[in-house]
């Protein structure tokens, strides 16, 4: 097989794996894929009911504020969580079939991306309902998603390797995610934080992606230069690091299995 054919084949495999994940996720539910659309809407309603009164002075269009952050946050968590266990879940395939191991990680990340695509449907609906002014800056949104995805992939690479050796990583990661969520200003205004906590939150790469998305979608602004720099550096840096870790440990993973 030439390189081109190989790449085509791998894309096909990833496509099949992604479609399996999605079909499988809703295999036993009545509404099926509609849940991918409903879920973000419902969680938005819940959060809005609870918090919007509290922050109505500081945040305009609270539901939009929350949803903009939560779709990105959800892509990150669902992607990394699923990718973490992917090598163990597909142990059988790994041993028997000669496929590059990255494919399994990438497939789970792509699944998260597809799910993000579904949640964009209610998101756009909400944007229209709240009459958010759409400006040209919206064109930057895919780019932000791309770098967020790159960042998630890097994290996923590391987690997937770690999970093969230590099952505990899963539980540890869920705790870390909780902490991470509260540091990502998903449902509260950053301005409210004391100065030094704010500094930490601003340095949080995920908050950076979320904030950039809010700028381009909600406020019609362009991200500032340091924000763009952070966005690119975290995305590319995490991906490279994750990939290197993954490559280094591939063989050990096979032996372990």
């Amino acid at each position: 097989m030439t390189k081109k054919e190989k790449r085509r084949q791998y894309t096909f495999v990833i496509k099949e794996l992604v479609s399996r994940e999605i079909k499988r996720k809703y295999a036993r539910s009545y509404l099926g894929i509609a849940w991918s659309v409903l879920n973000p809407l419902l969680s938005m309603i819940v959060i809005t009911l609870i918090f919007s009164h509290m922050f109505h002075r500081a945040i305009e269009n609270y539901p939009v504020y929350y949803l903009t952050g939560s779709v990105i946050w959800h892509m990150f968590t669902s992607g990394t969580n699923a990718a973490m266990t992917t090598l163990v879940d597909n142990k059988n395939m790994l041993i028997k079939v000669r496929l590059p191991m990255e494919i399994f990680v990438l497939a789970r990340i792509c699944t998260a991306l597809v799910n993000l695509g579904y949640s964009l449907i209610p998101y756009i609906g909400i944007l229209i309902v709240f009459r958010i002014q759409i400006t040209w800056s919206v064109l930057l949104y895919p780019l932000i998603i791309f770098f967020a995805l790159l960042f998630s992939t890097g994290v996923a690479f590391i987690l997937s390797i770690a999970y093969v050796f230590f099952g505990d990583v899963k539980h540890l990661y869920s705790v870390l995610l909780t902490l991470w969520m509260y540091c990502s200003a998903l449902f509260y205004p950053v301005e409210m934080l004391p100065e030094y906590v704010k500094r930490v939150v601003v340095e949080n790469p995920l908050f950076n992606y979320i904030n950039c998305a809010r700028r381009v979608m909600m406020w019609g602004q362009l991200p500032t230069f340091p924000e763009i720099l952070r966005m690119v550096l975290w995305g590319v840096g995490m991906f490279v690091v994750g990939y290197l870790v993954f490559e280094k440990n591939k063989n050990k993973v096979m032996q372990k299995m």
Binding site: Q9, V13, L17, R20, K96, V97, A162, V201, M254
Partner: protein
């Protein structure tokens, strides 16, 4: 590599630490108070007193109940009179961290009294609802001579009694005692404040404590991983050195002894002039098994701290070499756990050997596996595409062969059903049909898949396999059945406990194998 990990992990660690510490700071700044530390008002002249609620977040609302002694003071304006002696004030607008208002009172009788704010609910915009303990301030109203007669503060009974005991007739002394009283009051306030403070400081430490603990766990994990890493990299270095040495000696050896060696092997070959397709050279595969392996972080941590991570080496293959020529059908035989599957995995590239090399064009190899990646929640059709993709078929190829696959598997009419509802025979038939629908690859590897399904399907599947074997490609079969090897192969390799025992014609090798086992 270790350094790289360190470099990456340290900032992450620090970040989590900082973040968790940041969150530990609770809003503990709620309080109530007055505009001044003490007041001295003139008789019958309206006087103003500021009452305030403070928070570290903007105050949404605070309801204050202000008590005063109605004997001495009379309410004028600024709040809402509940009853003589109690004023109700609601303050706060959500913008300022200090919310307050001015009350106007008129002193009606000379003396020393106090105004108190009873315990209050302060609600800030973060939604925190904090009950603040009371505060009071002394108010002196001098008589016409400028002296302040001592009179009880009505709200505080304790103080009343204390005050009573210090009641003296002399006006000068009275003044002193009034000061005394004031001091005492301040003292009690201070004490209360202290108590409150200690409770808060105790609370303050919970979150950082947890944060520090989690950071510690994280660090432990990283430490353990790094330790593991160090071992591995040190070993790797040794190994590469060894490998180099070995390679050099091998080359030297090769030049001299290759002809002899090959001749030796070729004595068994039927097709001598054909080129070598697979060359396995001195392959050793070592698995490192930690003695009853640590499966949890805790165990690993404890063990690496105690240096108890005993590594047990297990040689699945020990210096195995052989060559396979184009067009040969080679059977690999051996008892369970003797390393047959390991050598297949090494040849197919799934495993990298500890030392030694395998020369083969990996793109030519196809490992025949049944139903890899079958998902029982999907339909038959979806599984054909999924399984096909995984074992290397293109979409066009599957589209083209789909009907053949269904026909061969005898599953017409079942393809839109979930595989969950299939019988096990149906599943293996489908798997077999997908796996064997390919154009025969140049190197085919079969790992005990020769017979599936019922008697009739078995015949069909055996015919299919024979067809593939005969179509001229190189075939590797792993089996512990000598009859399979006798009837299909042109050459047999016997591996026992990781050691190459014998290479030769199927008849000879199988005889030897059976002899050993009987």
């Amino acid at each position: 590599m270790r350094h790289r990990i360190k470099k990456i992990l340290l900032p992450i660690l620090m970040l989590t630490g900082i973040i968790s510490l940041g969150f530990s700071v609770q809003a503990a700044g709620e309080a109530v108070g007055f505009g001044s530390e003490s007041y001295r008002w003139e008789l019958d002249v309206p006087a103003q007193i500021g009452v305030y609620a403070y928070s570290d977040q903007p105050v949404e609302t605070a309801e204050l109940y202000v008590h005063y002694n109605a004997e001495f003071l009379e309410y004028s304006s600024g709040g809402e009179l509940v009853e003589p002696g109690t004023i109700h004030v609601t303050v706060g607008d959500g913008n300022s961290i200090e919310a307050g208002t001015l009350l106007e009172l008129i002193p009606r009788k000379p003396g020393s009294t106090a105004v108190t704010i009873a315990s209050t609910n302060v609600k800030n915009i973060m939604g925190e609802d904090v009950t603040v303990s009371e505060a009071s301030v002394a108010v002196d109203v001098p008589d016409a001579d400028g002296n302040v007669p001592v009179i009880a503060a009505p709200e505080n009974e304790e103080m009343e009694s204390a005050e009573e005991s210090t009641k003296v007739e002399d006006s000068k002394e009275e003044k002193d005692s009034a000061l005394d009283h004031e001091e005492k009051q301040k003292e009690t306030e201070k004490q209360e404040g202290k108590k409150e403070h200690s409770v808060q400081s105790w609370k303050k430490w919970i979150v950082p404590g947890i944060a520090a603990l989690s950071v510690l766990i994280l660090m432990g994990m990283i430490f353990a991983m790094m330790k593991k890493y160090r071992h591995a990299s040190a070993k790797k270095k040794k190994r590469t050195v060894r490998k180099k040495v070995k390679k050099q000696s091998e080359f030297a050896e090769d030049d001299l002894s290759k002809p002899e060696k090959l001749e030796e092997l070729e004595a068994f070959d039927f097709i001598e002039e054909k080129e070598i397709e697979i060359a396995v050279k001195n392959v050793t595969m070592e698995f490192k098994r930690t003695k009853d392996e640590a499966t949890s972080m805790k165990e690993l941590f404890v063990r690496s701290a105690k240096h108890q991570n005993k590594v047990e080496k297990f040689k699945a293959l020990d210096n195995v070499s052989f060559t396979i020529r184009k067009g040969e059908v080679v059977g690999i035989i051996g008892t369970n756990g003797s390393g047959k599957s390991t050598i297949l995995k090494i040849i197919s590239g799934a495993l990298t050997p500890t030392s030694g090399t395998v020369e083969v064009d990996r793109d030519k190899i196809q490992l025949l596996t049944l139903g890899t990646g079958f998902d029982f929640e999907l339909t038959g059709r979806e599984n054909v595409y999924l399984n096909g993709a995984v074992i290397g078929y293109t979409k066009e190829f599957i589209d083209e062969k789909y009907d053949d696959i269904v026909k061969f598997a005898e599953l017409e009419g079942f393809m839109e059903q979930k595989v969950r509802n299939y019988s096990s025979g149906m599943v293996s038939r489908l798997g077999f049909a997908i796996a064997t629908m390919r154009d025969t690859p140049e190197i085919l590897i079969l790992d005990e898949v020769l017979s599936v399904g019922d008697m009739f399907f078995r015949k069909k599947s055996e015919a299919r396999i024979k067809e593939m074997i005969k179509s001229g490609s190189t075939v590797l079969i792993v089996s512990h059945s000598t009859s399979v090897i006798r009837s299909n192969c042109t050459k047999a390799i016997w591996i026992e406990k990781g050691v190459l025992k014998d290479i030769g014609t199927p008849a000879e090798v199988c005889r030897a194998y059976e002899k050993m086992n009987s």
